[in-house]
Structures are given as C-alpha cells and as structure tokens.
Symmetry: C3
C-alpha cells in the first residue's frame, strides 16, 4: 500500500551524468532513470513495450534510450523514436513515463497520475544549495517497510538503547528532554529541548564548548521527507528564541521512498554549519554508523511484523509523532482509494 500521488526522492542528481542509466524500483514499479547526451533527465517504465526487456540494460543514444535486445529507442517522453530495420513506428509503441525533476541536488519523481504532478509541491531543502552548510549525500537500502523508518525518525526515545555507542549518550538526558509535538493535516513537528546540559563530545570537538549548552532536536515530517535539525548553543544565549548563529547545528535530510511493500530506499544527507577541522567528515561518519544501527533494528522489526501485519500494537507516550505521521499517510492513501473508486 503506497501513496501514489506524491513526490518521492528518486536519487541524487550527481549520480546521473549525461549517458547515465539507473535501474530502480519505486512503489513496486520498475523504473529506469537516464540522462540524455544533451543533459535532459527522464524516468520511464523499465520494460520495453516490444518484448519486455528491461530498458535499463540499454544505452543512451543521443537523446534516446536504446533497448539492449533489439535496438528499439525511446525518448524521455516515453515515445518510441526508432525501430531498427523498419521505417514505420507502430502507433502503440511507447512506454510509460514519469515526471522527474532535479531540485536542491535531489531527483524527485512522481509515480501516480501524471496530470497531478505539481512541481510547486516538491519539498524544498535549501540547505543543499547554501554555502553556509557542508553536506554529504548517502544511500541505504532497507529491508523494511517505509513507515517503520518514518516512525523511527519521529521517535528519538530509541537513541539510548539502539545508539549507546554513537549518538545515544546519557539516557537520563534524553528522558528529561522537554518534548512538544505539533501537526497540520500534512505535517508533524516534534521538538525536543535539553536545556543546560553537558555537550556531547562531537559538539565540543566541533565548537569548543567549555560550559553547559542548550540543545535542541527539531524533526519535521511531510510526505515523504523528514528534516532533522539538531544542535546546541552556550546555555542561556537564546537558542530557543532562534539565536543560534554562534552555536553548532546539523541538518539531516531523510528521503524515504518505498521500493516494495517491505523494502525502502533511504536517501539521506547530513550537513553541518561548521565547515572546518574535519567536522563535516566526523559528523558524516558518525551519522553513517548510527543509521547502520537503525537499519539492523528495522530489518529485524520487519521480519517479525510481516508475520502478522494487522496485529494491534501497544502505544507508549513517545509514539505521538510517529502515530500522527501514520494517520496523515493513512488518510491520504484512503483519499486516493476513494478517488480511484469514484472514477
């Protein structure tokens, strides 16, 4: 069960040079991403309409993608533009195409009704284009349902159990955190504050804090991107009123795209506003290790949940944010089903 009419992260723009071809499954549909020699990007169903060969085995030929098996060629629009050894192109010769947009160094794809693909609704992420930030892109393949990952990111109460060796730190700090959850009909925002607390080693290394700091974790969800801003400033200098310039901030981009019902593409980046002394590299390495720990947990969770997916779960207080996100997605998917049924 997927939300079809929605922008999803399809990849990193830098991974698709002219002539580049990438095979990737989204919402359980096979897709080929490619870039023509002139630089245009396209996303087609990864199946030649002739004999079903995956087009991703083919090669870019000028402005077209050529099937590896019999040489039939397709433009980014999905139109067949060449059939070798015959002049007439059959009128039915075309493959499905999906809108693909590059923005903020991210490739965004719309898998649903192409007429509803409104580019103005692509989630913005200016951090990737802002020279004040240094960022690194990454990718994980997760053997778990996409909503498990959303839930994981919206409930950081797992940090001290899953990440004791990386970012977990002192459990007591996390449980004393002041938490606020706010929501709209499409968004959830979870804010956690840890005022006047001991700075973690990474923070000290990055910024040289000598005393206590005011820490924050701000998590924003919309379908389907999660932005996580975390950081700290010297205690009492106005971090919670927005005066954070003299502090240390990290910004996480979490693009969560269902591959199948039980596997997920996880395109993420981590940025810091301290650009020197190896801080971006250190933060990236630590983040990578942390997400690997999450991946292991989610994959085990998936195995167990998939045995009996509809069985009720028991909620605890820290599930508030994740439950909001689940309800938003359930409502949007239900609306799609209703709309399809009415048509």
């Amino acid at each position: 069960m997927f939300l079809m009419n929605n922008w999803y992260v399809a990849g990193w723009e830098a991974d698709l040079a002219p002539g580049g071809v990438i095979a990737r499954r989204f919402l359980n549909l096979p897709v080929v991403l490619f870039r023509t020699m002139s630089g245009e990007i396209g996303a087609l169903e990864d199946r030649c309409c002739h004999r079903g060969m995956p087009l991703s085995s083919g090669v870019v030929e000028g402005e077209a993608l050529r099937c590896f098996y019999h040489g039939v060629e397709f433009a980014t629009s999905g139109a067949c533009v060449k059939v070798p050894a015959q002049d007439r192109i059959p009128s039915s010769a075309r493959v499905r195409s999906y809108k693909l947009v590059a923005r903020n160094h991210v490739l965004w794809i719309w898998m649903g009704d192409q007429d509803q693909a409104d580019e103005s609704r692509i989630p913005a992420y200016g951090v990737h284009d802002d020279p004040k930030w240094a960022w690194t892109p990454s990718y994980f393949h997760l053997e778990g349902n996409w909503q498990l990952l959303i839930e994981n990111l919206l409930d950081l109460s797992h940090l001290s159990y899953v990440h004791p060796k990386t970012i977990g730190g002192n459990p007591a700090i996390h449980f004393r955190a002041q938490m606020a959850t706010t929501r709209t009909d499409r968004t959830v925002r979870v804010e956690r504050r840890m005022p006047n607390s001991v700075p973690p080693p990474t923070y000290v290394a990055a910024k040289g804090f000598t005393g206590p700091i005011d820490r924050w974790q701000e998590i924003e969800f919309e379908p389907v991107l999660i932005r996580i801003n975390t950081g700290g400033c010297d205690a009492g200098t106005g971090a919670y009123e927005g005066r954070r310039e003299q502090g240390f901030s990290m910004s996480g981009f979490h693009g969560i795209t269902p591959e199948t019902e039980s596997t997920t593409h996880y395109f993420w980046s981590i940025a810091t506003d301290v650009l020197e002394n190896g801080v971006p590299e250190t933060v990236f390495r630590q983040t990578y290790d942390t997400f690997e720990e999450d991946r292991a947990v989610l994959e085990q969770q998936q195995i167990r949940l998939s045995e009996d997916p509809l069985r009720p779960k028991v909620d605890i207080v820290s599930d508030a944010g994740g439950n909001h996100a689940r309800r938003i997605l359930a409502r949007l998917m239900e609306a799609e089903r209703t709309q399809v049924a009415a048509e």
Copy 2:
C-alpha cells in the same frame, strides 16, 4: 499441522546461563528463551507488544528482558514491568508466555493451552542424571518435517543402505533380526533382536568381546521423544531376560520438535555405560556422523514429498512402527481440532 498441547524439547539447560537469551521457533511460533540474573527461566513470544521488535535482540536486565529498540521490559510471566520515560504501564502491555521447565538437563516447553500444561506428563529421562552413564548433548537443524524423523528412527531397516560406512554393518544381520512391535494409545515400542551375532567393531573396542553376542535394539516412542537403547552381551548370558550388566549399552535421547511445517529441531544425546578408554567420545563421534547421513536423506525426502504432500505412499513390512506413531499423532491432532471447534 502440529500437536499443540504437548511437551516439547526446547533446548539443553546448560545452553541458558543467567543473562542468556536464545531465539528459537517452535510449532511455527517465534519464542525467546531467557534466564534472569537470579536463575529463573522464561519463554516468551519473541515479539515486543509495543512495536513488534524481536525481544531476543534485547538483554536481560536483572529479572526482566529489555527490548533492544525502546527499552520496554518484561518479566518471565510476560508482564511488562517498565516503560522508559513514563510512569504508567499500559494495561495491555504484556506478551504471551509459555511454560518452560528444566528437567533431566533438558528444557521442556508447552506451546498450547497453558492451563493444560501438566508437568507430571513431561517424559522422564533419568539417564542424564545417572552417574552410571556418560552422555553428550547435541543438536541438528533439519530441513524436513518432524514426522519424517520419527519414521526414520522407528524403522532401522534403512541402516544398511544409509549407514554402510558407520553403523550399518552387514545387511544380512539386519534382515535376520527378530522384530516385535507393541503399542499403546500413546506409545510405540519396536524391539529388534540379533542373537548370537558377530559384534561390531565399536562393541569389541568398548567391551573386549571375543565371541558372538546377543544384540538388541529397543526403540520407544511417545509424543514427542524417542528413546533408543541398543547394546549386546556375550551370547546366551541372559540379555533378553534383562541381565545386561556385564554387557555394553548405549542410550539415545531424540527430542524432536517442529520448528515449522518443513523444518525440525533435533535435540539428541548419546550415552554409554562404558565410561573409560574414550568409549563415550568414540560413540558420540560415530553417532554424529550417522545422524548427518540421516539428515541428508530426510532433507532430500522432504523436497520431493513437499511437491505433493497428500499423494499416497506404498507401505512395506518395516513401516509398522512408523505407521503406528503417525496414527497416534494424527488421532491426537484430530482430537485437538475437534476440541477447538467445539469451544
């Protein structure tokens, strides 16, 4: 199809030290076995009631098992005893628990209706507690249905074909064996006698026989344990009247526990009443190799049978014991279904 209301071997007691956690599937249900720091043993459904994480990924914390994901803790009773960062424990927060009993160095579990779990019905196996015997525990995982293994052990006519290099010996001896099969409504006993026969090399090495011996093989089945007593005495000294003290005996424990419909836990031990000269080690090694041969056969048999499980089979004379056991199990399982349907 399983027999639910029955004691099954869940493992060896020695494998579960204080703080120990074992994940194991029985009757196609995921179970976590653990032992608290005070030594109490418990068996719970291996699925946290909060978000479905396998509890077997967690750690023992004092008298509880703590979930690895969000730190929720459970007692051996299945009751939730702690939810981090909140005082109230939700009333629905509990996981299913299964009765687990340690006896004769074996862990026995009852997976069915917990109210029917009567410890007095646990199969006894005093050999493990008797200093006259030296025994070694072992475990095989079998890619085959549990009843194939029962059948295999109740029909030793396969020895000369499957085990010619280990215990098979001379086919003629096996086919001359005098066989008697007796049964009750819950047990089968197959007895084979090979009077006045040449002792196998292992027997000679163990006991120094210089002439012919009276050999026996006594196989006892009850749901679901098979005991196999084999051995020999100098011919004509009363082995068949029970005077076996001066001979050589081996006692096999065969705990057969369905993991899934097509895979089986096989907990076995082999004991000898000759404790010196490396006899127990030799016998264990030979038994291990023999059971490996059986495993290979049963896994091939499973592949073929699973293609068409209901197809009739042709019986031969030596199937008597195995067929009795199948009928006992079929009757008990049918009785369970009838009982469930009536409730």
Copy 3:
C-alpha cells in the same frame, strides 16, 4: 503451460554410461535418467513410491535402480523388482516410467501419454552421425521460459545489439538482409540472405575467402528443436541454388526443453564442415560466448515479463518467425487441453 505429448531432448547420450544416474526436471516433473549395467536406458519419476525418496540418490544395481533410503529396487519399466527383507512385492509398488530413446547421440524423452509416444516422430539430426561434420555438444541452464529462447533463435535481428563483440558484426549488413519466412502447421522456416557481403573474420580464417561472399542463415523450427544452418560461399557461385560444397557451413542443434514454467534446459551443439586448423574449436568457443550473451538477455527479460505475464506486447516486423512458432505451440497446447477435457 507445456506441450505434453511431444519428444523433448533429455540429454546427451554420452553423459549416461552404464551405472550412470542423472536427476533432471522436465515439464516441471522430477525425472531420474539411468543406464543399467547391460546398457539399457530408462527414465522414471524421481520419487520412490515407498517413502518419496528421490530415486536419483540411489545406485544402479545390475538391471535395476536401488533407492538409497530403504533399498527398494525398480526396473526401467517402473516395476518394483525387490523389497529388502520381505518376499512379497506389494502390487501397487511401481513408479511412473517415461519413454526414453537414444538417437543421433541425443536422448529423447516423451513426458505425456505414453501410448502416444511414436518414435518415428523424433526429430532427425543426421549431422551428429555424419563424418563430414565435426561437432561439440554443450548445455546451458536458462532462468527463463522456454518460448523466450525459441523467439530469440527465430529472430536474429538482435545480433548487432546483443552480440556486437562476437557474431554481431556490421549492423548495416543485417538490416539489408533479405528475409523470407515460410511455415506449415508444425514448422517455421526463416531464411536470411546477405549476398555479396564482406566475410566475417571467422569465415576468412576457416576458408580463406579473399573476396565477397554470399551468406545465408537458415533457421528451422519444429516442436521443440531448432536447427540453424549458416555459412557462405564465394559470391555468385550458386550458394542460393544449393551449391555450397566449396563454401563454409555451420550447423546448430538447439534442443529446448522446459524444466519449469520459468527455467529451461538448453541442449545445443555446433558443427562445422571444415574439420581442420582448429576451426571446430574456434567456432565452438565463439558460439559458447554468444549464447552466454543471449542467456543474460533472456534472464533479464524473464524477470520483467514474469511480473505481468499477460500484458500485451508491441510487435515489429522481425517478430514474424517467432510469432509463427508461438501460434503453433499455442494451437498444439490448446488441442491437448481440449482432448483432456473431452476424456
């Protein structure tokens, strides 16, 4: 969906020496091929009627195949000829047998109604017995439906895309080829001529051509064998009127036998009429590499087609031969279904 009443290639005769046993699945049925000590060949269902053990685990004992598990023996007729330790053989003790015939160094099997197995309908392939030809047998296992392979061999327009490094050569030559497709109710013949064209390097090496040649590709399909004769003669010397003795010819045998719905046994040989200078070895090596390229394509095609097997495909001109073959097979299979339904 298979054509049952048909001769299929089951293997190479040379692979089955006296005492030899081969396990192989045809039309999704498990089969054991064996040769008795006197040289008789047999094909039985690979499942002992006693307890379902694959008979292919067993050994040939004189004129019978002995089951590895309990020693029950079967003749090539499928009749049980021995049950150890009992005199009476149960009347129901027999396994299904399939007609197996060795001809032209090929083993042919009939999986359907045994009464309809008419040896006179076995496709002839005299090349294997003709000293004018040097040939090498080979085998590929294909993770793809059998009809994809038929289609592949009947449409050589893929050569320049899939085999540019081996036999593909100059695309322009292939697209200028003169093509004729002829058919009967059981056969398809595709003929392509490339008159007055530059000889490929292999041809020059084999025959020393110094000028242009008249090339041909002649593909003949019948259920289920494809014969491909290709070659060339000096231009204008009568190749298209059948005068080819002074030229260079290759003859391909393509035995295509469904293993399952989605996997195929591909028994092939390649022969040349130039027997010296390493020509047969060179041609075999090149053919082997070429078929490996096809295998990779067909396996990718299978993956995509199996996601939605009934989805319509768009035809192009070069599909004519393959489409004829598909229609022949569809008609024959439909006739079988109708016949079975009428019985």
